[in-house]
Symmetry: C2
Subunit: 310 residues, 2 copies
Amino acid sequence: MTGAAMGPGEEFDLIRSLVRGWGERAAGIGDDAAAVRVPDGMQLVATTDAAVDRVHFRRDWCSPDEIGYRATIVAVSDLAAMAANPIGLLVALTLPDDCRMVVGPLGRGIGEAAAACDTVILGGNLARGGELTLTTTALGYARAPLLRSGAREGDAVYVTGRYGGPAAAVREWSDGGQPSQDARARYVRPVARLREARWLAEHGASAAIDISDGLLADLEHLAHASAVRLEIALDGLPVIDNETVLDAARGGDEYELAITGPSDLNVAAFVAAFEVPLTRIGTVHSGPPVVEATLAGARVAPGGGWDHFS
Amino acid sequence: MTGAAMGPGEEFDLIRSLVRGWGERAAGIGDDAAAVRVPDGMQLVATTDAAVDRVHFRRDWCSPDEIGYRATIVAVSDLAAMAANPIGLLVALTLPDDCRMVVGPLGRGIGEAAAACDTVILGGNLARGGELTLTTTALGYARAPLLRSGAREGDAVYVTGRYGGPAAAVREWSDGGQPSQDARARYVRPVARLREARWLAEHGASAAIDISDGLLADLEHLAHASAVRLEIALDGLPVIDNETVLDAARGGDEYELAITGPSDLNVAAFVAAFEVPLTRIGTVHSGPPVVEATLAGARVAPGGGWDHFS
């Protein structure tokens, strides 16, 4: 994506309007590619994530601002899962003809999300197409990125935040209703737990994943990557009002973090620093890569996550 | 995109098959984000580019291998325009249900393009959707990236390669015919001029752009970015057989480079090193940011490029 110093054409007018709207937050845009410094000694952390109309969001559920905001946070959340500091974003938009009028609000939501993550828009791409799609690349850096594969026998398993909001919102919308304000906010304004993740990494976290597919499904990814068995007791999982623990543990789109780390992690200090719950829900054991979850002493079936191709 | 160490599900099976196909070229995949080193003292260069079915390619014109190959090279070409060395790629695929069978060949084309650029696949994203889309993020590094804004009065304007192939191929296909082998190859197997760009940067190039919108349109971008007037004589532009110079200068999808640099650049050494034409086509002057192009002494109308939204 290139900025003000371009030739004529409607494509470039749309890009110019986006770049103008982002102001100082997109001040570097204007070449074939973005050029930016990664601090010496740091690793580059990079991720890309697509939000496709009617697959990852619905235009009758969310405003264009919210669609832009959410797509951006979802991508940055993968940086949080690596305990990385954001460097900037590349924003690739595919716009159907009937969506050109919403470029302004979409861009505003993207800009607000970038601001919430204290990062900038480095560039992107604008394409015509039949299906509104936002593909966000998030770039960051970390000295020692937190991986999925670091969980070790004896570690405790923790989660940030409260669960069930996004699943409840989607269920209400799908049933023709309106979700509660709390559930709706958790869906349309997720939070990338960037500062929280860095704190956890600094305090001994050994592995992390962000909860996009559902807590149980994502714990399964972590168990596979670390080749460990996770014993999880869901009883203490913080859940929003009027939602069951099981639905909350299976629902996707949370963008909270599950981490493994020392069993004596200073939870009170975390909560005081971020005003976000940090809850121990289990323990890492050696053994086959499975998640053994219980609720009120009864075994919970594995998985139940979100498979975009099922 | 995550690799082998994931839980079950068809989405992950597709990802696993892609990663398996890429082999060592995607060996690092497996976390929420990719982590990779940028050499100390270098700037990160990053770009993202979308290829949308029926906008940027057609499935009845190209095989899935070719679609994957071309989408990848198109993104990497933006690194070439900055004279950057590739670090790796993030590949975001949106797959309609009827395209799942072509994931293998699409991935093969992507892998072949990565190999041609001597780079790797760091990660990506797989989403269901109605429209086959490949959004490629290319990451690279350069000590001093070549920008569009560096052209200075007195510089010469050069182009790499021969023009007109992609436009001729698209015209033939659109008319129901089959393009010549040469024209077709230029469309389906473009080359990212990575080594050529680094050579040019090392030999004093002051600005560069890759030719995606059309030579005249892209020169206009460069003129705007550098705030210079470009005098261009199209008479010497290398053109493929049976194509007019004007069509060749207006056609998009070339992925050759236009650069500005010293008028005494050693063209013979470049041609000997890369077996690719390097042709001087003009001169940089002070003045308003316009392209003044002539052919056989007659003035050529400006622009005529490829505007995805017109």
